[in-house]
């Protein structure tokens, strides 16, 4: 067996120490809360180190940092199982207690078992979950194409209506800021669509002027998007990046414990 330094270190840091810590924590509860912080510190430090130290054991293709990314995927797989168990528990409880909206839970569970069953069948039978060898869709693919994707599109299409209602509320000229927003939005909408040309279609003599005005609006739109909007976005991004770095540092140093549900001194 090839005992690489990076792999051994990862196993010690993220498997042996947490397990030992867990058992020690049974006797000393304070220790139990420190183990996740310990794991968090090293999980944060290793990718940062790999940015500057290109040694194979840390930043190489099989080094500690890429391996941590792989472990994240494995962890997510197990967490997904937890999630599915949670979905089953919650919906079965709703059905058994006849809670409000329980028929929806029945539909959900049928959908879960039918789709999951088709997926498992595709895996066992060897035909997979895509298109079968004879060119026809597998049952799983059929469900995806004819149930899942249309439903997805339906929900996504709601966005257009919600955008209109949100814009209506946002653009009401209640104060100076909202008025500026309204004017800027109106200019951008006019600059993005050839509205003036369309209006000038019945009057040929106005068409050159409309085309010229439309071009001018297009340039103004570009300026609004690039200059004031771009500057504001850059400001938010710089502030957020520093905030994220500060937050990451707090997590790495074990100062920020809120994500573990812990407060001061816990």
């Amino acid at each position: 067996m090839n005992l690489e330094f990076g792999r051994v270190t990862l196993v010690i840091l993220f498997a042996i120490v947490p397990i030992v810590g867990f058992f020690l924590g049974l006797r000393a509860p304070a220790l139990r809360s420190r183990i996740p912080i310990f794991v968090g510190v090293f999980a944060g430090l290793i990718p940062i180190l790999s940015m500057y130290v290109p040694k194979k054991f840390i930043a190489g293709p099989t080094g500690m940092s890429p391996r941590l990314d792989q472990w994240l995927i494995i962890l997510a797989g197990f967490a997904l199982l937890l999630g599915i168990v949670n979905v089953l528990q919650n919906n079965m409880r709703k059905i058994s207690r006849r809670e409000k909206g329980w028929p929806f839970s029945v539909v959900l569970l049928i959908g879960l078992f039918v789709t999951g069953g088709f997926g498992v069948y595709g895996g066992i039978s060897g035909q997979g979950i895509g298109i079968a060898a004879d060119g026809t869709p597998t049952p799983f693919q059929y469900v995806t194409n004819w149930f899942f994707q249309p439903l997805q599109s339906t929900i996504f299409s709601l966005l257009a209506f919600f955008m209109a209602s949100a814009a209506f509320r946002a653009f009401r000229a209640r104060n100076t800021e909202a008025t500026i927003l309204l004017v800027a939005a109106a200019l951008i909408m006019m600059g993005r669509v050839p509205l003036l040309e369309l209006l000038a279609v019945p009057i040929p003599s106005l068409q050159p002027a409309a085309a010229s005005a439309s071009q001018g609006l297009g340039k103004l739109t570009e300026w609004i998007m690039k200059t004031p909007n771009g500057a504001a976005q850059a400001g938010i991004i710089i502030g957020a990046a520093l905030g994220a770095a500060s937050m990451a540092l707090r997590v790495i140093l074990g100062i920020e414990r809120g994500y573990l549900g812990l407060g001061k001194g816990e």
Binding site: A79, I236, I237, I238, G243, A245, V251
Partner: protein, 396 residues
């Protein structure tokens, strides 16, 4: 007629020996000599994880128009040259990523021109080869090209730690009011009064996104408040890792508030990994259960507006928060309060008022001020044609 034929024959007889004598007597013009590349070196590529050798050279003057630089490699003591790559002139460098650590290689470089004839008159002339010294690749300890970034990181850490030290010494640290966070108690209090749920959606991203970490930290504070007030909490999740973290954070918050009896497993629930299925399920839940307060804090994609508009339609107090500017306009247009950008990361410090956390927020502000000053300096320098300041910040 006969005279003409006789003269032609005579001419042929006279000319014949001359034609035979030409190859040894008057040689055709020699093919142009193809020059060899200059200053050829092969070294380990600096600042990498190994398995790569950097080759550099200078193109010689007078290269044919169709010239190509041919790179070959041999592993001493064997002298069998295998082609590694063929590159166009003007590149001046090539990285051999097929090299393996622990092996020693010698590289040969030469110019090849398909259109130029060689000394035997056959097209495809090859110039004289230049052979490098033996080279071997290995992994390195430091990426020198990232020195500026490392200095910035060390400075930033120093500023943050210094500010935390100042905060620990007991100095009062001012932090401006954040309306969205001030409204947190009000929103939960209202939900308690009217006996409705508080819904907290920790975004769509997984825990590898720092916004999710910040969101779970805020969820801990929200859960403490719901535990204090005895309000019902509902935390639907899209990402399984965020779900696991959220459940632990809420459980710990109820325990910390001394109300573990109020915590129920179904408070933090998993919905689905699909974006729009999650959106549909949560929107439907909003309409059915009409929560009094909705928190949309974390990283959201296109579902942001659908969720926020649905929440708005049921009359809930909505507090949103996102660091990424793409979805912010939707939240600003739809929610009562929005944590913009860095406010999301400052929320935990703001809510807990822990000096150590407040110190880190102050350090972050100092770093921002330094960046603003450097930015202005960069603008002034670039305006006067000095690009050195911008180069200082260039990272690889």
């Amino acid at each position: 007629m006969r005279l003409a034929a006789g003269l032609s024959l005579l001419a042929l007889l006279v000319a014949a020996p001359i034609a035979v004598a030409t190859p040894t007597g008057t040689l055709p013009p020699a093919p142009p000599e193809i020059p060899a590349p200059l200053s050829f070196t092969a070294v380990d590529r600096p600042g990498d994880s190994g398995d790569a050798i950097l080759l550099t050279w200078q193109d010689p003057p007078g290269l044919p128009a169709d010239a190509m630089i041919e790179i070959r490699r041999a592993q001493p003591p064997a002298d069998e040259w295998a082609e590694v790559a063929e590159v166009k002139p003007g590149v001046g460098r090539h990285v051999d990523t097929t090299a393996r650590d622990g092996n020693v290689y010698r590289y040969e470089i030469r110019v090849r021109s398909a259109a130029t004839a060689d000394s035997s008159g056959i097209a495809g002339a090859v110039g004289p080869p230049v052979v490098s010294d033996p080279a071997a690749s290995h992994d390195n300890w430091f990426r020198f090209e990232r020195t500026n970034s490392l200095i910035a990181v060390v400075l930033f850490i120093g500023i943050i730690l210094g500010s935390i030290g100042v905060a620990r010494s007991g100095k009062n640290i001012f932090i401006r009011k954040i309306a969205g966070l001030n409204a947190l108690d009000e929103a939960i209090g209202r939900a308690t009064e009217i006996g409705k749920k508080v819904m907290y959606i920790p975004g769509s991203a997984s825990m590898d996104d720092i916004q999710s970490v910040a969101s779970i930290a805020i969820l801990g504070n929200v859960a403490r408040a719901t535990a204090r007030y005895g309000a019902d909490l509902d935390v639907p999740n899209k990402d399984p890792l965020t779900f696991a973290s959220a459940r632990e954070a809420v459980r710990a918050a109820y325990l910390a508030e001394g109300r573990p009896d109020l915590f129920r497993e179904e408070m933090v629930n998993y919905v689905t990994y699909d974006q729009f299925a999650f959106t549909a399920a949560v929107s439907a839940r909003m309409i059915r259960e009409r929560p009094a307060a909705i928190f949309l804090i974390g990283y959201f994609f296109a579902e942001s507006l659908i969720l926020a508009e649905t929440g708005q339609s049921v009359g809930a107090i909505q507090i949103a928060g996102q660091a990424d500017p793409t979805q912010l306009p939707f939240f600003v247009a739809t929610c009562d309060y929005t944590l913009i950008g860095e406010e999301l990361y400052a929320a935990s410090a703001y809510l807990t008022r822990e000096p150590v956390l407040l110190g880190s927020v102050r350090g972050q502000d100092i770093a921002k001020a330094i960046l603003i000053v450097l930015g202005i300096l960069g603008i002034v320098a670039a305006s006067f044609g000095v690009h050195g300041v911008a180069d200082l910040f260039r990272t690889q």
